[in-house]
């Protein structure tokens, strides 16, 4: 790749608060989500899903369902087999590391391994009829032993999650460097803790959904999907259904949130497209919330045993431990959650020796894959809890212990002896972690806290202060695509393989483009996630899009700009250095009247038969870029909060919440702040409200929003966001990811605050998910322990 010019240090558009270009149509109710795509004469799908966590299917009778009026077809795995290349799902983002028999079945054949696994598909005139007919499908099951706890699942004598497995342990590995045991052997102090961690669901407002429309006129099958990755879905559909690439188009329309839940292709999606192909008719499946709870991935339990070795001053000498990760019944998409956790424990700290033993274990529950944060929050929780323990154990201040171990700016870029998935070293590229802590502590008035806490205590109120750090690698590669085209109408089109799912991506990309082309945001249209417009693309995940797609748009915009200048210089007979792009024109700097519209240049660059291109440039006022990067840049955050715990109800109320975040340069502070707010709310939910529960029989217990609690506005404090900007040297915009880094410190900050509030009772909190019920039982436990002592 040729070197790319960096964004100017004093940009005109980048960094100003901008209104989202997405909002006018969304606010007018004109947003078009999958279920809004006109679907006349479309059939609708309902699935019969397994009611049992593990069973053999001994009999399926479709007679009554098929005879039901309004039913077009009822399919089992056998019915789909003729058009599937394989009865199982292809791998998403394939790697060589996993066995073929780990992905889910498109439809279950003779064994089901979790509640919610699709078995039979009913296609009917309406979803209501399809549900009626689904109720008429008769299936007999023979129960098999259920494995619902990954800790017992990894015992050699445990029943198997699926009969085809010889062990429930999918992966067993160490992530390590240095000589950790030697470090522990000579360490003055060692701290040991056990943590239970749980994240829950992605809970996008819009559930998943797919509409497949075969078009005999063009022979193209168009698929609209509420997905975070239309290009990968394209590949999987063409692989699973042997579709010639020229006969398939995948479009992501408006997407009502992803948060990880839509970062893979699912069996129900492949089945729906298969039905459209078999019937030669448009077929739609829109997931309802009940399906979402069991059919869309979760991030569930991790059990950690962690040890930290320190010297007498609290400097870390080594960290070691063991982690058991609940992976669910199948592997629909890689095993990166556990690996992300294991490889990021040391976070912003200098840890000379490290070793974590990891077990990725199958259970008879919904498959596990990344939810916003993707394993990193669990690592941050474990490490931040250890930092508090070290402070308590050594009688040191929590902030001071962190300061002693944080990677100082002077050591940046700081390379850890670890490799990421691409084999690239883990390098903290930039940031000032100590400064962020300082800002956070000042903002929360740490100095005045002791007095506030004492005053509250005098009134019988228990308040506590929490503090936590994180770093998050952002901008996952290897590439993202963008085409920037000035149309003869004067409007600018951006086409990208990135995916807009509610974060304001279109506005962000438009800002990056407007910076170079000198056009209004309103004159830019962004088309994201349509496989007919970009041949390649990766999509939306891992806090990557502003970095990867933003840089791609930057590169393409620079090229368009250069071209426009060259042509204008030719047409205006002026030196390119004397020209500027402003208000949709190229003009002689300081002489507003004299210039040429970009639209005019675009028209000229479409060419006229027999005439050469003006200025000798290539045709079209457009540029196509593929921005590549293997090394991720590290965003960091430091959160401080104050909570009050009601010792009679166990309720935690957040009094103040301060988030200091460094995401490098901000393209649009308004949407950046929105991302931080969202990340924190997600973290609050994970800590205080959300808990995807199952019983021992693998039955999900929380399958409505009355039982699975999301944070609502009334439970939220004002969130105070302070940005500290250390531009990343790794991309031309100097940006870093935002939305996930904001989630990582929340659980450790809140739990730290809750523990601090309950200090008078000597309560220790090691669970990342904490209901009022568990707070009261912790208090009871502490009281009993005190009575015994």
């Amino acid at each position: 790749m040729k070197p790319v010019a960096n964004l100017s240090p004093e940009p005109r558009v980048v960094g100003k608060r901008a209104r989202r270009i997405e909002d006018p149509s969304l606010l007018r109710g004109q947003g078009r989500y999958v279920d809004d795509v006109p679907a006349e004469h479309a059939l609708e799908v309902a699935f019969v899903r397994s009611p049992l966590a593990h069973a053999l299917i001994t009999r399926v009778d479709l007679t009554a369902a098929r005879a039901h009026p309004g039913v077009a077809a009822v399919y089992t795995a056998a019915d789909l087999a003729p058009i599937l290349t394989h009865p199982r799902m292809p791998f998403g983002f394939p790697t060589d590391a996993l066995p073929r028999n780990t992905t889910p079945w498109v439809l279950a054949i003779d064994e089901v391994a979790h509640v919610g696994e699709p078995i039979v598909m009913v296609v009917a005139d309406t979803r209501a009829i399809a549900e009626d007919a689904a109720g008429l499908v008769e299936i007999d099951y023979e129960s098999l032993p259920v494995v619902s706890d990954p800790r017992t699942a990894l015992q050699p004598d445990s029943p198997r999650v699926r009969r085809e497995l010889s062990s429930n342990v999918l992966q067993h590995y160490h992530v390590n460097y240095g000589d950790v045991n030697a470090a522990f052997a000579s360490a003055p102090r060692v701290f040991t803790e056990h943590f239970w961690q749980h994240r829950g669901l992605a809970s996008s407002i819009e559930c998943r959904g797919l509409f497949a429309r075969p078009d005999p006129a063009t022979n193209v099958l168009t698929v609209w999907s509420s997905t975070q990755m239309s290009h990968e879905l394209f590949r999987i559909l063409s692989e699973a259904l042997a579709l010639d690439e020229n006969t398939l188009r995948v479009i992501a329309p408006e997407v009502g949130g992803g948060f990880g839940g839509k970062f893979m292709a699912y069996c129900d999606e492949v089945a729906t497209v298969a039905a459209a192909m078999l019937l030669g008719r448009p077929v739609k499946w829109v997931e309802d919330r009940r399906e979402h709870f069991v059919g869309t991935i979760h991030e569930r339990d991790q059990f950690w045993a962690l040890e930290a070795a320190v010297d007498a001053e609290g400097h870390l000498l080594g960290v070691r431990g063991r982690m058991v990760h609940d992976h669910g019944a199948y592997t629909p998409q890689a095993t990166n959650v556990a690996y992300n956790s294991a490889s990021s424990v040391t976070g912003p700290y200098m840890v000379p020796h490290y070793d974590l033993e990891v077990f990725v274990v199958h259970t008879n529950m919904t498959p596990v894959a990344p939810v916003r944060g993707a394993g990193y929050p669990q690592a941050a929780f474990a490490m931040e809890r250890m930092m508090d323990r070290i402070a308590q154990g050594l009688g040191l201040d929590r902030a001071e212990v962190r300061l002693r171990n944080l990677v100082p700016t002077a050591k940046m870029p700081y390379t850890k002896p670890l490799k990421n998935r691409a084999g690239a070293p883990v390098t903290l590229d930039s940031g000032d972690y100590a400064a962020c802590q300082d800002i956070a502590l000042k903002a929360i008035d740490r100095a005045g806290f002791a007095a506030r806490q004492a005053a509250a205590l005098a009134q019988g109120r228990y308040i506590g202060l929490g503090l936590a750090h994180c770093v998050k690698p952002t901008g996952r590669g290897p590439y993202e695509t963008a085409v920037v085209r000035v149309q003869p109408s004067g409007r600018v089109s951006i086409y990208t393989g990135a995916l807009a799912m509610g974060q304001g991506l279109k506005t962000t990309l438009a800002i990056v483009c407007a910076e170079q082309l000198g056009v209004d945001l309103d004159s830019i249209d962004v088309m994201a996630g349509d496989t007919s417009l970009n041949a390649l693309g990766m999509g939306g995940f891992a806090s990557r899009q502003t970095i990867m797609a933003g840089s791609a748009v930057h590169v393409a915009s620079l090229e368009v700009r250069e071209k426009a200048l060259k042509v204008a210089s030719h047409l205006l007979e002026a030196a390119a250095e004397d020209l500027e792009l402003r208000d949709g024109r190229v003009q002689i700097a300081g002489v507003p009247g004299k210039g040429i519209k970009l639209a005019e240049i675009a028209r000229k660059l479409r060419g006229s038969p027999g005439y050469s291109m003006p200025g000798g440039v290539s045709p079209g006022l457009e540029a196509d870029s593929m921005y590549q990067a293997d090394i991720q840049c590290y965003a960091n955050a430091c959160h401080a909060c104050e909570v009050e715990v009601d010792i009679h109800t166990g309720e935690t109320r957040i009094l103040r919440y301060i988030a200091v975040q460094d995401s490098g340069r901000l393209v649009n502070p308004a949407t950046a702040e929105g991302q931080v707010h969202g990340g924190i709310v997600h973290g609050i939910g994970n800590t205080l409200f959300e808990w995807m529960r199952f019983d021992e029989e693998g039955q999900p217990l929380t399958t409505t929003f009355a039982d699975y609690l999301l944070t609502t506005a009334t439970e939220l404090p004002m969130i105070e966001v302070i940005f500290h900007e250390s531009p990343s040297p790794l991309n031309p915009l100097g940006v870093k990811g935002i939305g996930e880094a904001a989630t990582l410190p929340v659980a450790p900050a809140l739990v730290s605050a809750i523990e601090d509030a309950l200090g008078p009772f000597g309560v220790k909190v090691n669970d990342a998910t904490l209901s009022p019920v568990s707070v009261l039982s912790l208090l009871r436990g502490a009281a009993q322990a005190a009575a015994q002592a």
Binding site: A128, E131, L701, T712, V773, L776
Partner: protein, 283 residues
Amino acid sequence: MKLPPLDYALPRSLDEAIALLSESEGQAKLLAGGQSLMPTLAFRLATPALLIDLAAIPGLDRIEITAAGVRLGARVRWVDIEQSEPLRTAHPLLVAAMAHVAHYQIRNRGTVGGSLAHADPAAEWPGLCVTCDAIIEVIGPAGSRLIEAGAFFSGPLSTHLAEAEIITSITLPAWPRGRRWGFQEFSRRRGDFALAGIALHYDTDAAGRVLDPHIGVIGACHSPHRLRAAEQAISGQVLDDVLIEACAQAGSAEVDPPTDLHGSARYRRALVHAMLSRALQQA
């Protein structure tokens, strides 16, 4: 999550509704605000053949305040109570409890009749009716009858309402001037059903002694009921911190809470203690 196939009727009178109900032989469901019924249908936990919408029956939406008390038609909605100026003085406890009922969209549709018939043990209004000695008027093929709220519920989500009976109104006895009251509940999030809640009122004599205390529990019970031991603990006494604690202990000892996903019996008992003590402090 689509409704099962069903018919819909919009009767113009109670007589017509009763006739439809009796003819349906248990296959019909009354529809008021739909806030509890519609999810039940969407989940297909109930599959009635006919919905009889009460929306067009005149008079059921009236709030009447007389010397005898407050009379609410069965179709009075939470929002009507919340926004009624006269009710603020005619029944301050009722108005205060409304702030805890669901969210405003639901308060715009949910009705007092629907809530009683639905009989959720964690709902505020049924608890309030039991606490305040409300009289429920129902009408059926055999005419109308009055039921004391305390004898209306037979367990979680079940009542002594006969198959073809319709709730028409609820009367709360008059609220004397100077009556003390408290309402406290604990729910995970604002608007959620209560894990435990206490409604109470009492009067006082010239010496400040508690007269005729009424203390009712919601959430930590199978249906709402009065806490007689707790009432006994304060009756005839002047309240102080010691007495409040004794009363809260008596109340939490006499409840028989369920254990479910959201809290164990033991946890709910602790909540009853906290809510009762706070409600007495509030009063």
